[in-house]
């Protein structure tokens, strides 16, 4: 019996053909995602790729124009039952700026069914945040910490964060990620975090979702992705046919040498190629560049 229950709730976010349109442009299209519970997932992509739109549909702020999104199997749109399970920190961490942190903790207690006010107070006092100062007067880093503490006080099963560290200085960024990772490690909460800070994400995340031009370009566990991607350096080649390579994601060539970032489907046996492991940053940049070239070619009507 228990096994069935576990299987059913094993998926935190599931989307199917999900799309959202603003006027005539699709902000997100044909999005098929599957985020297993317990992951700490990075949502990556350039500005305007649809990250915020995806998060807003996941938290039920927006209604999809196509397809569906399910949070632990339920439709989140304006659904209080789902809202109770999600902690959300919106872009630019909006809070009532004339409220004090203390008042915001009180407010959270009035607007939520489960609310761990003691936990929130403990976190905020640990961070040295003034309880009786309007949060508008706090620093950006402190405000982000308040927003995070409020989201965590709901004891959510899923935590969604929309570029929470984008506007922070490196120290505040580091502290924020530290608080986040500490809290998540204690509770086993699933996290989906959108950000541009690839280096910060590499340290924290074990799952990657890459969005570009309204589509999902790549998604999977970081471990698998790093396992199946390699940088190959070898003699200049234009054929891009190497045994063990499923796909060349990005190639750069000098007169005598080619460097390829590839997805592998077997061992690279050709001794002409030297294999290097890839970093998450390499991987993301390669996929972004690939989709970018394709999009530009389409826009200019040039054949690949």
């Amino acid at each position: 019996m228990n096994d069935v229950g576990t299987v059913l709730t094993d998926t935190a976010i599931e989307t199917d053909g999900l799309g959202k349109r603003y006027k005539r442009t699709w902000a997100l299209q044909d999005c098929a995602l599957h985020l297993p519970a317990g992951r700490i997932a990075a949502l990556v992509g350039p500005n305007g790729a649809g990250k915020t739109t995806l998060l807003h549909m996941a938290v039920g702020l927006l209604r999809p124009d196509a397809g569906s999104v399910r949070i632990f199997g339920k439709d989140p749109y304006s659904n209080a039952e789902v809202l109770a399970e999600i902690g959300f920190v919106a872009q630019e961490t909006p809070l009532y700026r004339d409220f004090t942190a203390q008042e915001l903790v009180t407010l959270g207690g009035k607007l939520n069914r489960t609310w761990d006010a003691a936990l929130a107070r403990e976190r905020l006092s640990g961070l040295g945040i003034a309880p009786n100062l309007p949060v508008g007067k706090l620093s950006g880093g402190q405000r982000a910490q308040v927003a995070l503490a409020l989201a965590l006080a709901k004891r959510p099963r899923l935590l969604l964060l929309d570029e929470p560290i984008a506007a922070l200085d490196p120290l505040a960024r580091h502290e924020f990620m530290q608080t986040l990772m500490g809290a998540v490690a204690e509770t086993g909460t699933t996290v989906l975090l959108s950000s541009h800070m690839l280096a910060d994400l590499e340290r924290a995340c074990d799952y990657l979702i890459l969005l570009q031009t309204a589509h999902v370009q790549l998604s999977g566990s970081v471990e698998d992705l790093l396992e199946t991607h390699r940088t190959l350096v070898g003699p200049r080649t234009d054929s891009e046919q190497v045994p063990g390579v499923a796909e060349v994601i990005r190639g750069s060539h000098t007169d005598r040498q080619s460097t390829l970032l590839v997805r592998t489907n077997g061992p690279i046996t050709d001794p002409a190629w030297i294999e290097h492991e890839v970093t998450l940053e390499d991987l993301v940049l390669a996929y972004l560049a690939k989709a970018d070239t394709r999009a530009t070619r389409t826009a200019w009507d040039v054949k690949a």
């Binding site: 739109t53 807003h56 938290v59 039920g60 702020l61 927006l62 209604r63 304006s78 659904n79 209080a80 809202l83 109770a84 999600i86 959300f88 919106a90 872009q91 630019e92 909006p94 809070l95 009532y96 700026r97 409220f99 008042e103 009180t106 407010l107 959270g108 009035k110 607007l111 939520n112 069914r113 489960t114 927003a147 709901k154």
Partner: protein, 337 residues
Amino acid sequence: MIWLTWRQHRKQVLYTAIGLVALGAVMLPTGLSMHHVFNDSGLAACLSKLGTSQVISGNADTCDDQFGQFSRQFSSMGFLAILFLLLPMLVGVFFGAPLVAREVEQGTHRFVWTQTVSRRRWAVAKFGLIAAVTLVFSTIYSLAMDWWSGPLMANSGRMGPLIFDFEGIAPIGYTLFAVALGIFAGTLWKKVLPAMVATLVGFIVVRVLIETLARPRYMSPLTASLPVDSSNQFNGDSGAWIYGNGVVNGAGKLVLPNSSIGCGSNGNIAVSGAVPDNVDPCGGLVSQGLGPGPFFNSTRYQPAGRFWEFQGIETGIFLALAAILIYFAIRRLSRIG
């Protein structure tokens, strides 16, 4: 939600209360002085002697002297009254317009709508509480205006344009409408300043349209016809809302618009309005081709007795508009992300 609404709007409520007190500080002395003069000058006594019947004796005292004195002394009060008329609009501009617009402008709707409260419940609680507070404030305002404008309306009555607007229950309708308009404008523009401007413009346009086009047609007016040689006259101080008067001939045709003629049995001739110079007002109307006789002074009017019917219709219209606006505001909320 009640805690949140109070915490968010307590300053506005405080400022409004201060505003009402300041308003009281203006209304109390001017109102007292008007009531004082109204009674002491004999105007009150004269009017009560005159009565409210629609047709009165031709030589009755229509209190013109006292009215002249009263209106000379308080000529600036009409201006003040018009300022008071704008107060409901201000409630809409400062309470209604920022309600949704400020949340969306500052992004806090994404905070509050992602707590465990559906946005419909959020809307019902906030709109409901704001409407309740508005109801309290506008009732106080309308009762105060009733008292203050008492002497001013003695002349023109409670039915006439402008004075009607701050009598009875109509101000409550206007205020709730203004708030609903502000809320709706906020869901449309999603920025505080444009929503405020739209509320201001929208309120004035709707009020003027209803006042000038709709209200005169709520009920068809009555017509009082008195022969030009009658010893009686139409009582202009009965509190009726007079649309117009004119001289009508025996065939029922209006021959001298906006005028009246009095041909008393004692030979006195009284003429008012636009009677042309070449018209002999009593003897020669037929010979001048205005016939056939007999001629009547005809007045079209809404009697003062219809005051509450008009109030009911007017308030009903504005409450219905407010309900429609709130319905659309809640519908629009579901599209804000």
